[in-house]
Symmetry: C2
Subunit: 447 residues, 2 copies
């Protein structure tokens, strides 16, 4: 049975790592009061296609024996378009500003390649207002995602991440101040800076009517990257003036100056970031993970003045989307793993099938205190039962008797224990995520 | 924008109820050592159709600009077929017997109606062996699902559920002992007993060659329902003998006699249960929820001697599937709700925009101790900020100052509090699920 290219599936051990990452994201988002939303997997095709020229990437969906021979529905390809539709559809049931997180799979028909999947999980946070949305929402989503990233890095043994923040108003205002007629076209060229050498960028700029002196200024702006608000002075030093530029600099300084990132996350003002093909109107975000620069941005987003609209209102929003699957695939490929393949902390051994009921009682007693426990499937030799635990990474094997004993199969220590009182050390209660550099310790190699 | 019929979406408050139910299921399954598996949403069409005549219900999926004009992929319509495929595909990476839970959406193109959706969530548990699977696995999945159901009923204020268990071997053995040539055909007729009156069933039985005396016996067997192992004697009293019947009675007695159900769940031997159209070979399960009998079975499954097979092995399995969406929709329609629409336990008020940084610091201090907290979006009058909390059901509003104070907006009590030490009562830390009969207490009606 051939695997479907682009539709990866995790082993149970990998899935435990994924669950730990998703649990951490949920917990961070909820600590900040973001509510969970799930939208249906399908949208009417016309809702999805409204956003632009993306129909090549879309999976159409239709009832095989339905009346329509053509697809009128399609699988969503991101979580922003469905969320915008959800906001309008449920506007009367929501309280604005509305803060939601959404962790779901999305589908794209792109050619599968390293780190690019056809089915993958995204984790989005957005704050959306009705008619207005205060600017500090931009600071807030940055703060939340910085904490979310910091936790993932701590969990997975990573070294760090950089949240790169820019503001469309800075770029557009600067280009307008330079007298350039089509700031958006310039932005789309600048957006290619990390893939195309500067001399080719100059040629492309010339092609859209940017003269040499203007091009110097455009490229000088794009070189400004600071981990604090000093970018403001550096932009000022270029001598360009425009009202929109002032507004953008003020906004960007608020974000970079206010966010208190965890120590493994750096928040920078980075004026290379343009996100030229998206419809952002202010703050824009990208994120690079140290050691995984080839992944590109793992976490991107920005401010939309009009995320959605209905007959009565517009809904401005600001949000960031984390590419969970892409990030996880890279980390798993480098050896990120879990300490076991099952939730069980304890395997209760069974000396003979007649004693299974007693083993089940011990297991029930342990579970009643929150200890994940399974009972051996077969009254095999104890050596075999210990092997059963070892293969799965279950740390403890329980032997019923008078007295009962429990064995830590990693150390070989075996002690008397009371099924109505014993609990494992906290660190053994749940499977642990083992960072790549820790995952080949001697105790793991035994398995 | 018209809603898509059959693709329901929850409000944030409803979603909190759903999250509580799903969290409970996950926690129960993991306490029993079941590992989480997620399979991709799509399967090759031929894998899905292999199971039988279900192609009318399937949603085909294809890249709109792909080469194939016809769908070669389809959305899965249950979690059993994808799991069987996963077991074969990942057999070398799994340890058998393999115990997994799987909570995912499935899609069926059926006509939407009361409690029948086109997109819905199922929660499945299965134990699968390689070549053999001990019978006590049947007892184990029953035990786990009884506990899962008990917890859901406790959480949602329900009165009870009945797990109805039968065994194909009892029915087949009994029919064979009666001298009936086609036990499966008889089972398919008996399976209609809860929809078709007994006299019509007699006609249908006569049509497939069952004589009057045999029909009496067939119907007498189907009347046997006991909450304990006394069904064995009642079957014996009918005087039919067959080896397969003996085997089935022994198995069924093991399940009904061994499971220790929580007090709100009754486990019965119920010989009406045939599940005539499924490919079960031993134990079969259905479940009725007290007060929601019209939903039919909310939780069904059974034993397959051959869940899957590859060139080297067969994979017997036993599992049960809980229809989460169907159950939840019925309970939500009856008024099941959550105490709030956001995770936040505390709203930190903002006296003026210059004081937002201080409010953010208080919020960070509360979050560092696990208290979900949000900061007011606008430095409006305090009355408005309290309204903001009330609308969302947030129980506490924090006022920065010297001293800081925190107000329980339900009682109106306001006390001095230290942001580095205060925590809400445990019951207020997370949103609570409010059972229908509790959900219209005076404090809720204010909202």
């Amino acid at each position: 049975m051939a695997k479907l290219s682009g539709f990866p599936e995790h082993t149970p051990r990998e899935r435990i790592v994924e669950q730990a990452v998703l649990d951490h994201l949920r917990s961070t988002f909820e600590l900040h009061g973001f509510a969970s939303v799930e939208t249906r997997a399908v949208e009417p095709l016309d809702v999805l296609l409204r956003k632009g020229e993306i129909d090549k990437e879309v999976y159409g969906v239709r009832r095989l024996h339905g009346e329509d021979k053509e697809s009128t529905l399609a699988l969503h390809f991101d979580l922003t378009v469905p969320f915008a539709r959800y906001v309008v559809e449920h506007a009367n049931e929501l309280d604005f500003p509305f803060r939601r997180y959404q962790i779901q799979k999305v589908w794209r028909g792109e050619r599968p390649q390293q780190g690019r999947f056809r089915e993958f999980t995204q984790a989005d946070i957005d704050i959306v207002g009705r008619d207005t949305l205060p600017f500090h929402a931009d600071v807030e989503v940055t703060q939340v995602m910085a904490e979310a990233l910091g936790g993932i890095i701590a969990l997975t043994g990573g070294t760090g991440a950089t949240l790169q923040i820019a503001n469309r108003k800075v770029l557009e205002g600067f280009y307008a101040g330079l007298g350039l007629a089509d700031p958006t076209a310039v932005m789309q060229v600048v957006d290619k800076l990390d893939k195309v050498p500067a001399d080719k960028i100059r040629v492309m700029l010339a092609d859209i009517g940017v003269d040499d002196e203007q091009a110097d200024q455009v490229l000088a702006l794009a070189e400004i990257v600071t981990p604090d608000t000093s970018f403001v002075e550096r932009v000022r030093a270029l001598g360009v003036e425009h009202e929109l530029l002032d507004e953008g600099l003020d906004e960007l300084a608020q974000v970079v100056g206010s966010v208190r990132a965890p120590e493994n996350v750096t928040v920078t003002a980075d004026l290379r970031i343009a996100r030229g093909l998206d419809y952002y109107t202010g703050t824009v975000f990208e994120t690079r993970l140290a050691g995984y620069e080839s992944l590109g941005s793992v976490c991107s987003g920005g401010r939309y003045e009009k995320l959605a609209a209905d007959n009565r209102s517009t809904y401005p929003g600001v949000g960031i989307s984390l590419g969970v699957s892409r990030l996880l695939a890279a980390l798993l490929a480098d050896g990120l793993t879990a300490s076991r393949s099952v939730p069980s902390a304890v395997l209760v051994a069974v000396s003979n099938e007649a004693a299974r009921a007693e083993a089940a009682e011990v297991a029930a007693a342990l579970r009643s205190r929150g200890v994940p426990t399974e009972v051996a499937p077969k009254a095999a030799k104890f050596g075999k039962q210990i092997q059963h635990a070892e293969r799965r990474g279950i740390p403890f094997v329980w032997f019923c008797g008078d007295p009962h004993t429990v064995k830590d199969i990693r150390s070989g220590d075996q002690v008397e224990a009371d099924p109505t009182a014993w609990t494992p050390p906290t660190g053994d209660l749940r499977p642990q995520v083992l960072a790549p550099r820790l995952s080949s310790t001697p105790s793991e190699e035994k398995q």
